[in-house]
Amino acid sequence: MRRWLAFLIAVLVARSVCPEVYDEYAVKAAYLYNFAKFVEWPSGTFSNHDAPLVICIAGDNPFGDTLAAISNKNVDSHPVEVRIISLTARLDQCHVVFIGRADQEQFKTVLLKLARLPVLTVSDINGFAQAGGMIELFKTEQRIRFNISIQATHRANLKLSSQLLKLATIVD
């Protein structure tokens, strides 16, 4: 049973990492989950070791159903919880916050709200990283790459794995 499950998951994940086959946001959703894996939150962020890792889609949800693929997954011992919340709602409960291009005007506000909070900010808005965001997804050569602002992460007291940093373009 477990093997079958593993096989299924493997197949699903494999699909998620093949952006050509699925739409752009499916890939971005997988990225969100993957990012969580390479980030070390400050101690005490999680109340206990099986406290959920909350991924918040702030504002408009561009992912559609694809988010289902990442919910019910674990990062380390923490189960992933995807929440779609409004920009204005409290974001301090979130561990990862995604801001879609639709909310281009409001992202700075959100960023302000989240300043100094240990929350990983991800967006596919151009210039996000330069604007104080942490990870900016962008599309190049049919592939989705990302920029990372190490200062932003430092400010938020998050440690990003070198693995991740290695793949990213560091903007500051």
Binding site: I9, A10, V13, A14, V17, C18, P19, V27, Y31, N34, K37, F38, N74, V75, D76, R143, S161, Q163, L164, K166, L167
Partner: protein, 979 residues
């Protein structure tokens, strides 16, 4: 292993060490290499696995974010690993996401590598089905020639497998490392071995060194024998012990040597000392021996001198004796008055006695000095006995004694000394006759035992004489001892005779025994053993037996012993004999036999019997007509005289001397019976056999070489009376001069003469004969030695000197005549002393006993040529055969020369048959031309050759040659006369 065995100990040690270290090093090296290979591989594998893990860990995020470039960059770190030509990152579906290729990897190599990878995966996939864990990093080696190591490491993130890293390594770095390592190992191995060899070379010396040293020492000792050599001890181990032991042994040997040397030195000293002793003893001994031999030589010289003295004495005595006896002999022939004759007889007898004494003394001294040696000659023993006894016939007759021989019927031929045996018997018989006044003397020989090789014979001389007292018998054989002193005076004699007899018998291996009773006679007997002689000397027994067998014979004798002896003889020849004691009985027996139809063929009549004498009986038988054809033999010891002689003649009886000799009797009987058969005239054959004393040698030229005038006179007179032409030479030198001037038929050569003695003269004569032996010369001059030396060995000396015969002084005519007859057979003629006394034949032997003159049937002495034969040839010639005479003579001369040569050859080689046939041929052809003397000589030779071996054939041949020379001359005379 054989190779190993042959190695020296040094090489063996090195070999062992090297082999050991090489083996150890090899094992270690291999272990190291294996271990290194294994661990290197492990390390290489672990390295690669680590590498793959690191790459996989680093690549996980890249895969998560689909960043292939980043993945490829990760793989690119492999560039640092030169032995990784290819690496790849696959997704979980084995789809290649990223790959790495070394710069020099070609596509083809890549494809090959990938194919291998696929095969490996397939293989793994099968295994995966079984194992739970698939994702562990692992490394695997594969590939054939290009071995490769494949390391597969999964890429995982949060338990999720994102793919895998596969790294292919061709391990060339590993191989290089390993190769380098192998080389180092190999190098170390070699270096170690070299080191080991060097060390072994050094260390083996530790063991082999002392051994070699030991061996060297042994060799040196073996060659130099220097046992003082010691071997240095180098170590404290077993080798050290060996060296110690060796040194010990050497020390012992050295000690022994020293002891031995000491010993031998002592021994030498001792030997030297002993040798000194010995040589001292030796010298002493030698002195002693020298002294002894001097003494011995002296003794021998003394003995020699004594013998020589005796010989000289006998010579000195013999020479005058020769004169006495010879002259008496001659004087007796002259007309003497009866008184004178009587005196002469005494003188003669005294001389003879004196001679006997001298002979006895000589013999005795020879026996005493051990000089007498017995000869070993084959001879007919019975003949010798008969002859010996016969010598005494006259003596016995004179005393009226019966003298007889009783001998075994078969001939006994033995090997021994006939002369000495005769001497013994003569002594005994002579004694017996001397001491017997009447009765008989019997000499008897009987065979006690005989084997294939030997005879044991008993000799016995019995008489019926005065006998010997027991007392006298004890000393009878002692020298100069007769029965008693008076007998010596009565009977004469030296008393040496029996002593000589005893000693001679002892020398021949017997012992003489005397049995006697005074007044009843004596019996001397002894037993001797003789070896049988070679067959030749045996008389022809078969011949003897053949023709007399079955004939009837009558023996008439008043003496019983004589009758028995004669009957015995006749019976032995197969005749049937009877005997009568007197004439009356004889006549009765003869008549009875005649009437019974079985008459006696022959009657043997004793000459003197009581009543009717032999001749009386003979005449009586002859006068009875029916008994007239009985053959008569008169046996007498002496000549019949007067009417007895006439009666015997009238009765036509044959005469035989007593004692009767077997052979003579046999010949006589055969002759008689032959006459019966052939009816030939009786007088034909017998006349040739003459007594030597009646022989004359008319015309023979004799050279007498003699220095002693008396002897010259004696011998000269004898020769002249015998009709010889005598020349006299006073010594050898003169003789040689004489011989140079004139030829002689015989030379009588005295041995001891002044100027040149007989031996030298003979040597010169013989030498001249050899050098100047021309064709016409007479073949060989006959030289007869005349010597007074009666010692044995003288005869040999004479013959050695080249003389032909030997005559011992003193001699009487009979002896001289016997010798001359041997050398002048052609001249020998019998004297016809009494014409008209013809009735009796001479005994039928060559040597007749010295009896008084016997009448013989006598032809005129044969001339060289019988004119009657020549006359008949002439007659034939006249009757139409002109020149026959000349042809015949020529033929004869040529044939005879050849025959004579053959004859000489046959005589030389002893070919009897050849001798006989040639003599026969020559006899016949000689008769043809009337050479009757020659014919006679040949005939004699032929007869002798027929009878047996002829030892003196050469004498005959020479005589024939001489005769032939005369015949030739005579024939030549006849031929001139013819013309």
């Amino acid at each position: 292993m054989i190779v190993f065995d042959k190695l020296s100990i040094k090489n063996k040690l090195m070999m062992v060490m090297l082999l050991t270290s090489a083996l150890v090093l090899l094992v270690v090296g291999v272990a190291l290499a294996v271990n290194e290979t294994y661990s290197q591989r492990k390390v290489a594998q672990a390295q690669l696995v680590t590498l793959a893990d690191v790459i996989g860990a680093n690549t996980a995020s890249a895969l998560l974010f689909n960043d292939i470039k980043a993945a490829e960059q990760n793989l690119a770190v492999l560039r640092a690993k030169s032995d990784v030509p290819y690496a790849v990152i696959d997704d979980p579906e084995n789809k290649m996401l990223a790959e790495y290729r070394a710069a020099d990897l070609t596509d083809k190599q890549r494809d090959q590598i990938r194919r291998w990878g696929a095969e490996l995966d397939k293989h793994d996939a099968k295994q995966e089905m079984k194992s739970e864990q698939v994702t562990l990093s692992e490394g695997k080696f594969f590939g054939g020639q290009n071995r490769m190591l494949v390391v597969k490491a999964p890429i995982q993130q949060d338990g999720q497998t994102l793919g895998c890293v596969v790294i292919y390594s061709d391990l060339h770095e590993l191989s290089e490392n390993l190769n380098r390592y192998y080389w180092i190992i190999a190098g170390l191995l070699v270096a170690s071995l070299v080191l080991a060899a060097l060390l072994a070379a050094r260390f083996q010396a530790v063991i082999s060194g002392p051994i070699l040293q030991l061996r060297g020492a042994m060799r040196e000792i073996a060659t130099t024998r220097d046992y003082a050599v010691r071997v240095m001890r180098a170590s404290d181990d077993e080798l050290g012990a060996l060296v110690d032991g060796f040194n010990d042994m050497l020390a012992q040997v050295q000690r022994r040597d020293a002891e031995l040397a000491h010993y031998s030195a002592g021994l030498e000293a001792e030997v030297a000392a002993r040798t000194l002793d010995l040589s001292a003893a030796n010298t002493e001994l030698r002195h002693l021996v020298d002294e002894l031999s001097v003494a011995k030589e002296r003794a021998e010289a003394a003995n020699q001198a004594k013998s020589q003295f005796l010989a000289n004495m006998s010579h000195e005595i013999r020479t005058p004796m020769n004169g006495i006896l010879g002259m008496v002999d001659l004087l007796m022939e002259t007309g003497l008055q009866s008184k004178q004759r009587h005196f002469m007889d005494i003188v003669h007898q005294s001389g003879v006695n004196l001679l006997n004494v001298i002979n006895d003394i000589l013999d005795f001294s020879k026996i005493e000095s051990g000089k007498l040696e017995l000869e070993s000659i084959d001879f007919n023993l019975l003949e010798q006995v008969e002859e010996t006894v016969t010598l005494f016939a006259e003596q016995a007759q004179r005393k009226g004694l019966e003298l007889a021989c009783s001998l075994p019927s078969k001939a006994v031929a033995v090997s021994g000394d006939p002369v000495r045996l005769r001497q013994v018997l003569a002594n005994l018989v002579g004694n017996a006759i001397k001491f017997t006044e009447h009765g008989e003397v019997i000499a008897q020989v009987s065979v006690i035992e005989q084997s294939a090789t030997a005879y044991r014979l008993r000799f016995e001389v019995r008489d019926t004489g005065i006998g010997i007292s027991e007392e006298a018998r004890r000393s009878i054989f002692n020298a100069f001892d007769q029965a008693d002193g008076s007998t010596t005076r009565k009977y004469g004699g030296t008393g040496l005779g029996l002593t000589i007899v005893k000693q001679l018998v002892a020398m021949m291996g017997g012992e003489i025994v005397v049995e006697s009773a005074v007044g009843r006679g004596s019996n001397f007997w002894f037993v001797l053993e003789f070896q049988r002689a070679a067959d030749g000397t045996v008389v022809r027994e078969a011949e003897l037996l053949s023709d007399l067998k079955g004939l009837r014979a009558l023996v008439v004798d008043d003496n019983r012993t004589n009758r028995e002896i004669l009957s015995h003889l006749l019976d032995a020849w197969g005749m049937r004999s009877d005997s009568a004691v007197d004439g009356a009985e004889a006549l009765r027996l003869l008549n009875d036999a005649r009437q019974g139809g079985d008459p006696y063929t022959v009657a043997l009549l004793d000459g003197i019997m009581p009543g009717m004498s032999g001749p009386d009986l003979a005449l009586a038988i002859y006068n009875e007509l029916q008994l007239r054809d009985t053959k008569l033999i008169l046996l007498t010891s002496a000549t019949f005289r007067g009417d007895q002689y006439d009666k015997a003649r009238q009765a036509r009886a044959l005469h035989m001397h007593k004692p009767v000799r077997k052979a003579a009797l046999h010949r006589c009987l055969r002759k008689l019976l032959k006459d019966v058969d052939t009816d030939r005239p009786r007088s034909e054959e017998e006349n040739s056999l003459d007594a030597p004393q009646h022989l004359r040698f008319p015309g023979a030229r004799v050279l007498l070489v003699e220095d002693n005038p008396v002897n010259r006179e004696v011998a000269g007179t004898m020769l002249i009376q015998a009709g010889c032409e005598v020349d006299i030479a006073g010594n050898g030198r003169e003789a040689i001069d004489r011989l140079a001037q004139q030829a002689y038929d015989v030379v009588l050569m005295d041995c001891q003469m002044p100027v040149m003695d007989g031996f030298q003269a003979t040597a010169v004569i013989r030498a001249r004969e050899r050098s100047g032996g021309g064709s016409g010369a007479p073949p060989r001059l006959s030289i007869v030695a005349v010597t007074a030396h009666a010692i044995r060995g003288d005869r040999e000396r004479c013959l050695e000197a080249g003389m032909d015969d030997y005559l011992c002084k003193p001699f009487v005519w009979k002896e001289l005549a016997t010798v001359l007859k041997r050398w002048l057979p052609a001249f020998a003629q019998t004297v016809d002393q009494a014409a008209g006394r013809v009735a009796f034949m001479a005994p039928v032997s060559d040597e007749t006993p010295p009896v008084a003159p016997v009448a013989m049937v006598q032809n005129n002495p044969p001339a060289v040529l019988d004119m009657a034969v020549l006359k008949s040839i002439r007659e034939m010639q006249r009757n139409g055969s002109p020149g026959l005479m000349e042809r015949l003579i020529d033929l004869y001369q040529r044939g005879a020369s050849t025959l004579l040569e053959q004859l000489r050859g046959a005589a030389d080689t002893g070919e009897r048959e050849e001798l006989r046939t040639v003599a026969h041929t020559l006899k016949s052809s000689s008769a043809n031309v009337g050479a009757m003397r020659m014919q006679r000589l040949c005939k004699e030779l032929e007869m002798m050759a027929r009878a047996g071996p002829v030892p003196d054939a050469m004498v005959y041949v020479m005589a024939i040659e001489q005769e032939f020379a005369k015949v030739r001359t005579a024939l030549r005379g006849q031929l001139t006369q013819e013309k």
